[in-house]
């Protein structure tokens, strides 16, 4: 996570144009104000010095001050994070509900339902996230549903393939040959085998949802951390950018690790 933050800070620092402050061209600012702006930028000039100072502040629970919004980053995160968590939770709920339901329907019927759901998933995979959010706003639907529609096709395709593979396993064929009902086969013989891998996918889907939150919040004007990241990038706010990079990296790593732990073979079975 710390390396992630350092990489983010380094990339930002090395990018052409870093340290150029548009306000320096503002004719209403005095020479002293312009010098103060340059001095403030000079403090961040060295990446190791900036990062060490940042880590030292972080150890004391201080995430620094946003240069563009002139507010403590901790306060900004406290205000914005719940909005993003809400969007991500709604998106994940919608994506998983749709994806799993249609995957189960596709496995059960394997005919028209499979073809229709596959076509819908392929179509949704072909629309940029930001356009999806715009289309939802145009239809007077909440823009955050776009996260669900971005997550859904990936869940559907993975879950369908996994369930189809599990349904063709010898113990399932035996259960079917013995005359067990479809629901009993699904809940007693397929889902327990597929469950571990589906839970591992849950970890990955969290990162997908967070990635989708950035354009969705920026386009739909939702006051979450995605929009904050967008504003920080536009305002070249290094402290805020590093904090957000570390926060999202932390969430992504935690979700992936949780998923990998659950999916470890031998614990809950493997498909």
């Amino acid at each position: 996570m710390l390396l992630g933050g350092l990489l983010g800070a380094t990339l930002v620092r090395l990018s052409p144009g870093y340290g150029v402050e548009e306000n320096e061209l503002n004719s209403r600012l005095s020479r002293e104000s312009v010098e103060a702006l340059r001095a403030a930028h000079a403090q961040d000039a060295s990446i190791p010095r900036f990062y060490l100072a940042y880590l030292s502040r972080l150890a004391h629970g201080d995430l620094g001050q946003s240069a563009t919004l002139d507010e403590p980053v901790t306060q900004l995160l406290a205000e914005r994070l719940p909005e993003t968590l809400k969007s991500v939770a709604i998106g994940l709920g919608l994506g998983w509900a749709l994806g799993l339901a249609l995957a189960l329907a596709a496995v059960a019927s394997r005919g028209a339902a499979n073809a229709a759901a596959s076509a819908a998933a392929a179509a949704l995979l072909s629309v940029p996230t930001a356009v999806m959010a715009l289309l939802l706003v145009m239809a007077r639907a909440p823009g955050r549903l776009a996260i669900g529609l971005i997550v859904f096709p990936k869940i559907f395709q993975y879950a369908r393939n996994l369930l189809l593979r599990c349904a063709a396993m010898p113990h399932v064929l035996t259960a079917r040959a013995k005359g067990l009902g479809g629901a009993r086969i699904l809940f007693r013989h397929i889902l327990p085998v597929a469950g571990a891998q589906l839970l591992a996918l849950a970890g990955v889907s969290v990162s997908m949802a967070f990635a989708a939150a950035i354009p969705v919040e920026a386009v739909c004007d939702l006051p979450g951390i995605g929009q904050l990241a967008w504003k920080a990038a536009m305002g070249r706010d290094l402290v805020l950018l590093v904090d957000l990079t570390m926060l999202v990296t932390l969430v992504t790593l935690a979700a992936n690790m949780a998923g990998e732990l659950v999916a470890q073979p031998g614990r809950t079975g493997e498909a």
């Binding site: 930002v12 072909s126 145009m138 950035i214 999202v248």
Partner: protein, 263 residues
């Protein structure tokens, strides 16, 4: 070859031809501003009308398609080469090198790459030339997309390194470089090709997202992402449905890529 796959291939080839010979579709210049005809409706002269600056929308769509469809494969090639180089080296060397490569891939994968892309792209100077901005946008896409493929390639090279035919070749005195070039690399071709084709629609969509957020290709160069910005005035879409043309073309193209891949 199945019907849908054949149709998708025909569509992509036709689109490729239009990209190579844009004058076949429209003689108009994508940057020429017709001051007396801004926001014009479709007509025989301007099939998709003109934008707010009086530029022919069809010409911008055709040249935007050319830019997106030529640079997305270039970025996909870059990402595939990087993945092959990094993953192949890690898998073939084994030991701590392989662990380091896997850790680096994990690090890049855990970073919010769209966020990084937005950040780095936003830090470019405001006066950057359009051609440089488009090159940097797609080069960034290519540089950030290697990690997932490198993991797969690394694991595959490790398997190949430990396979019987490579061990036999090694036992007969085959050098490491020759082993890699003659025995390992040819077996990676299907994975590298799949990675290349999978990356193209991903990069097209990412450029579109960046374009809508105002961080894509700089004006006056057109790209699909830049053309989709007009969708933000969605109140006028009902009366001007032709604004949806870039979105329809983009969706159709990505669907065709998916169809070809799945076929």
């Amino acid at each position: 070859m199945k019907g849908p796959r054949r149709a998708a291939l025909v569509f992509l080839v036709a689109l490729g031809c239009i990209c190579v010979f844009p004058r076949l579709v429209t003689p108009a210049d994508y940057a020429q501003q017709l001051r007396d005809a801004p926001d014009a409706s479709p007509s025989a002269e301007h099939v998709l009308g003109t934008d707010a600056l009086g530029r022919d929308r069809l010409a911008r769509l055709v040249y935007g398609t050319r830019i997106s469809l030529s640079l997305a494969p270039a970025a996909a090639l870059l990402t595939t080469l990087l993945a092959a180089l990094i993953g192949g080296f890690g898998g073939f060397a084994g030991g701590w090198v392989e662990r380091a490569v896997m850790a680096a891939a994990d690090l890049v994968l855990s970073l919010p790459w769209l966020f990084l892309l937005i950040t780095v792209r936003a830090f470019l100077p405001l006066n950057v030339a359009p051609m440089i901005s488009v090159t940097i946008t797609f080069a960034l896409l290519g540089c950030l997309g290697w990690a997932a493929a490198a993991r797969v390639i690394c694991a595959d090279v490790r398997t190949l390194r430990e396979s019987d035919f490579v061990l036999l070749a090694h036992a007969t005195g085959c050098g490491r470089l020759r082993l890699l070039w003659r025995h390992v690399l040819p077996n990676l071709r299907p994975i590298l090709l799949a990675q290349f084709w999978i990356s193209i629609p991903v990069f097209i969509l990412t450029e579109a997202n960046l374009g809508i957020l105002g961080l894509g290709v700089a004006e006056p160069l057109p790209s699909w992402g830049g053309l989709l910005v007009e969708l933000e005035s969605f109140s006028s879409l009902a009366s001007q449905p032709w604004l949806l043309a870039p979105l329809l073309l983009l969706v159709l193209t990505v669907v065709c890529f998916q169809t070809v891949l799945q076929g």
